[in-house]
Subunit: 227 residues, 2 copies
Amino acid sequence: MLMHATPVSLPRPHSLSELGMSAASNPMVSLREFTYRRGSEIYGEKEPAEYIYQVKSGTVRSYKLLSDGRRQINAFHIPGDTFGLTNGGVHRFTTEAVTDTTVRLIRRESLDAVAGSDGTLTGSLLHMTMTNLRHAEDHMLLLGRKTSLERVAAFLIEMDRRLTAAGVLALPMSRRDIADYLGLTLETVSRSLSHLRELGVLAFIDNNQRHIVLMDRQQLAGFDRRN
Amino acid sequence: MLMHATPVSLPRPHSLSELGMSAASNPMVSLREFTYRRGSEIYGEKEPAEYIYQVKSGTVRSYKLLSDGRRQINAFHIPGDTFGLTNGGVHRFTTEAVTDTTVRLIRRESLDAVAGSDGTLTGSLLHMTMTNLRHAEDHMLLLGRKTSLERVAAFLIEMDRRLTAAGVLALPMSRRDIADYLGLTLETVSRSLSHLRELGVLAFIDNNQRHIVLMDRQQLAGFDRRN
DNA sequence: ACGCCGCCTTGATCTAGCGCAACTTGAGGC
DNA sequence: GCCTCAAGTTGCGCTAGATCAAGGCGGCGT
């Protein structure tokens, strides 16, 4: 779980085409893996989208920026998640490795062109896109109408579902990342977590504020039961 | 443009299956049209999704509610837009006619099952879903990180693009609808619009606060140029 | 060991937007 | 015409969350 304090970028492909393509005939064949060091960029908003990605290990954040630096994190991608799917051929988010992350690169033969050819492929793309859409829809309700405590509770419930192992919720991301995901400030996130700890809903363990044990999922869900 | 002050529900199909199906063999054949009176519900969240819809005339709002009544409007659908597409077979939003609205009903043979059969069909569903997803992604940035003035400016720009005719932006929805779309209160929307009017960015016409002329699109865009 | 640094927490204050209320205006009914 | 009602505007506090600031803590490099 230890991170490098000074993230040193691995030699990553500056343009994705530098990766080459070993078995380029079938567009859904996994080509190769690549590892990104903590904090490094996987691709930037508005870059041409030549690949889609599947997380093998690690965590990825996907976000948009306003020109003055305000950031909205759209999603965290964990092992098994696919990301980077777009229709316009251009990425709509910047993605970065939250921790050291290994991804599988999947060549993207222009999805718009492929639409009519392979129903099975397109069907799985549709399913993935639907999954992303459902998440975005739920997140709009959170961002538009939920209080800070409700947002943090919803976040914990989501992360508990997605990445709790051995009873411990080991968050890979910082308070700032959480804040930018929930449309709050890092201080408000910290205060909400402290509040939940005081209420006995959760506890920090291992002398690590990212290692959380949920003591009362019932009560936690109660803070988001207005849903 | 005149509306009934007291919305009287037309006899609408309580369950969509009551609509019957004339040419049910091809799932993408338009079956029939239906008209909903201003304010009436088209379908509710968690209802089974038997049809998808295309707006022929009018405007539809799509939203989620929290149990205490807080509402987040996800999208406004105008003529040409398709809505009601979902994968789980269950609607994730409630939709209502903002004005008297006529829709085309399209029978939805379980999309999950259809996925592998007709690539062209699935491809067009994928395109629609991608379009919805892109909108949702942009809206998350707005809801999570933009100021009230930026939100209202972005709203006006979106609506200007989608429904300005003859130089007049004729908004079909109330201030409350706009507020619930932008994650604000109706008062804040009203104040922001007044502020933009004082600045000469827009003007109300026809003695109707929903009829807006944009006097300075350049300056208006400036309030959302942090994007 | 020591100091630095990134991350987090906590306290104090500030403010954008909310909530409440009064008032205006236009449309429809009679 | 007059009344009612829905929708919108505006003013005036108020508060949830932002902002500013101080301090703690653990890991890492030297």
